[in-house]
């Protein structure tokens, strides 16, 4: 088959009906542009929201959960082994919140090739004293550098700097807490632990995560400060946070560590399952809208090609009489459709890019996300590849049926009908 000639004929047919061709191509352009914009925007949003959780949440967290012993003393008694035992009023066992032998666990985890890094943490409930009023809150004693590396906490610090936490007895408090207690950077805050220890800490920063419940109660200090506050030694760690290279391995790793270190573990997927659902639903919606738009454009192309074939019966008849086979005629109309799809699709990509760039500079200020100033857009080239592929597939299918019809036209009927 002589594709150059076929394409040439297709282009001449198109040029003869330029207006309709443009209308058909604009349909595709519109569909693709909207698809690109929507998908870029939705994915930008997804990334933002995922990042919100993902950046702050460890992929695997190792800790000691307060829970009753699984094996109560009676189950060790051989005498009652075959009996069914009912125990009422079981109380949780105090194993202490501290992770036993944490130094060697951290060392072992740091050697693991699958893990980016490990950040130990001390979490403890405290009271913040403001005059006679006591506000309950939580202090996170963090390994400042590791925490910053893994969880980018500086993104949520609206006043002050994270490295200032390295100073002795310094604290970064949540914005809600600061507002309630009228505290600013540089002020001193009094803290009482649950065991009754009282100490004064200097506020070196204010953080805002955007979730009021957290901002009203959360504060950060360094590991050492937290340990001192609690009167515990430097090996007192309540949580080990792990970030992996491949987040999908988190559930498997969580299970592995649980057995290996005899600790409780929880993985990212379990903690944030609702976020995953939200993300995938947003993606599905944007793809569905894009595909619907393209199908509409496809019907437009189908109509225009059908009309064109009706008008060009004579031309088709003579092409067949002079030696073009049904297959050649079919390819003339398919390539016609593909040209519309390709031209419309490429313009669609361009307009999609322009539209998403415009969305990208629209101001978007929200208390929840202090570092975000405009609407988020994800410029993943994959979307553009998917877009143009969609455009070509829909136009191919839209062109296929009229083309098959054209290929079946009987030239004798047309010529004798004259």
């Amino acid at each position: 088959m002589n594709f150059k000639l076929i394409l040439n004929i297709a282009l001449h047919l198109l040029r003869a009906r330029l207006k309709q061709t443009i209308v058909a191509a604009v349909g595709v352009t519109f569909g693709i542009a909207m698809f690109i914009t929507l998908v870029s925007f939705m994915n930008g949003m997804n990334d933002l929201l995922d990042g919100l959780m993902l950046n702050r949440t460890p992929h695997v967290r190792l800790y000691n959960e307060i829970k009753p012993s699984e094996n109560q003393p009676i189950s060790y008694a051989k005498k009652y082994k075959d009996n069914t035992n009912f125990i009422s009023s079981v109380k949780p066992k105090d194993r202490g919140k501290a992770i036993y032998n944490c130094k060697s666990i951290i060392y072992a985890l740091k050697q693991d090739k699958r893990i980016i890094d490990v950040a130990p943490k001390v979490t403890t409930p405290v009271f913040f004293n403001s005059g006679t009023i006591e506000l309950s809150g939580v202090i996170n004693g963090i390994d400042v550098l590791a925490e910053e590396k893994l969880f980018k906490i500086s993104d949520y610090i609206i006043d002050g700097k994270v490295p200032d936490l390295l100073q002795n007895n310094s604290i970064i408090i949540g914005k809600g807490l600061a507002n309630k207690m009228l505290l600013q950077k540089g002020d001193i805050i009094k803290v009482t632990t649950s065991k009754g220890n009282l100490s004064s800490l200097k506020v070196v920063g204010i953080s805002q995560i955007g979730i009021a419940d957290i901002d009203d109660a959360m504060s950060y200090t360094s590991l050492v400060t937290a340990q001192k506050l609690l009167g515990e030694p430097t090996n007192y760690i309540t949580d080990i946070q792990v970030k992996t290279y491949d987040i999908t391995t988190a559930p498997a790793l969580a299970k592995e560590f649980k057995e290996k270190f005899d600790l409780d573990t929880i993985d990212y997927q379990t903690t944030n399952s609702q976020f995953e659902t939200g993300s995938s639903i947003r993606s599905i919606i944007s793809y569905a809208v894009g595909i619907v738009l393209l199908i509409v454009a496809g019907f437009g192309i189908y109509n225009i090609l059908n009309m064109m074939i009706f008008e060009k019966m004579d031309s088709i008849a003579i092409l067949k009489a002079t030696g073009f086979s049904g297959n050649d005629v079919k390819w003339i109309f398919i390539s016609l459709s593909l040209v519309i799809g390709l031209a419309g699709g490429l313009f669609g990509l361009l307009f999609g890019y322009i539209l998403s760039s415009i969305v990208d500079i629209i101001p978007f200020n929200t208390a929840a996300l202090p570092t975000i100033k405009t609407y988020p857009i994800n410029y993943n080239p994959m979307f553009y590849i998917i877009g143009i592929t969609f455009a070509l597939i829909t136009t191919f299918i839209a062109g296929l049926f009229p083309a098959l019809k054209a290929s079946k036209i009987d030239p004798v009927e047309i010529i004798r009908g004259k």
């Binding site: 000639l5 031309s315 009489a321 086979s325």
Partner: protein, 225 residues
């Protein structure tokens, strides 16, 4: 190679709508190289139907059709298209020029489809054919700028472009006035004499038919002389 360009053996054709009706009744005919043959007959005698069977465009018949001693009956659509492209030139009552292309491109199109010569050679041949038909001046015009007689001459040039074995015409002068009809006849006649071009023309114009080498007369689906 034998002298027979076209041969039919027991060619029959039926129409089924509204009732089964035998249009062509076991036609046996031969056309030799260099002949200028016309088929005449009354309206409905089956002469056009016969031509379209011979043209390979209509494949719904019984019997056998040979072009250049080669059995054509039963070939695939693609092979038939190739045969039409290479061996048969068509001139119809209506010109069927593609309005999107200029005269020269219209003439070149079957040559481009055959794809045996380079574009320059095809263009050269097309210009030669247009020259013999006295249409060189119009080569770059669009078909809608030409008169009926001129369009028909372009159609003849298009039929000639691949140096076909045979040119088939279905009432090629049917739409033309006397002057243009004579012109077309002279062109055909010249082709036969100068280039030994085989021609098979269906017509109801008896003047036209009389002047050809051989006239086949048909009646009720049969050749009577």
């Amino acid at each position: 190679m034998s002298n027979k360009v076209l041969e039919t053996k027991g060619l029959s054709k039926y129409f089924y709508d509204p009732v089964k009706f035998e249009v062509l009744k076991s036609i046996n005919m031969t056309i030799n190289h260099g002949e200028f043959v016309s088929i005449v007959g009354k309206s409905g005698c089956g002469k056009s139907t016969l031509l379209y069977l011979l043209s390979t465009m209509d494949t719904d018949y019984e019997g056998q059709l040979f072009i250049h001693e080669e059995l054509i009956t039963g070939k695939l659509d693609k092979e038939l298209a190739q045969i039409r492209n290479e061996k048969i030139g068509f001139v119809f009552q209506f010109h069927y020029l593609l309005s999107e292309y200029n005269v020269l491109k219209n003439v070149m199109l079957p040559g481009m489809k055959l794809n045996k010569l380079s574009e320059e050679e095809i263009e050269h041949n097309a210009m030669e054919h247009l020259r013999t038909l006295d249409m060189v001046d119009q080569a770059l015009k669009m078909p809608n700028q030409l008169s009926g007689g001129q369009k028909q001459r372009v159609a003849i040039a298009r039929a000639l472009i691949n140096n076909p074995l045979i040119i088939m015409g279905d009432e090629p002068t049917g739409n033309l006035d006397k002057k243009n009809s004579d012109l077309v006849f002279d062109i055909f006649n010249k082709l036969t004499i100068e280039k030994q071009q085989t021609l098979l023309i269906v017509t109801h114009d008896t003047d036209f038919a009389k002047r050809t080498n051989r006239t086949i007369t048909m009646e009720d689906g049969k050749i009577i002389s």
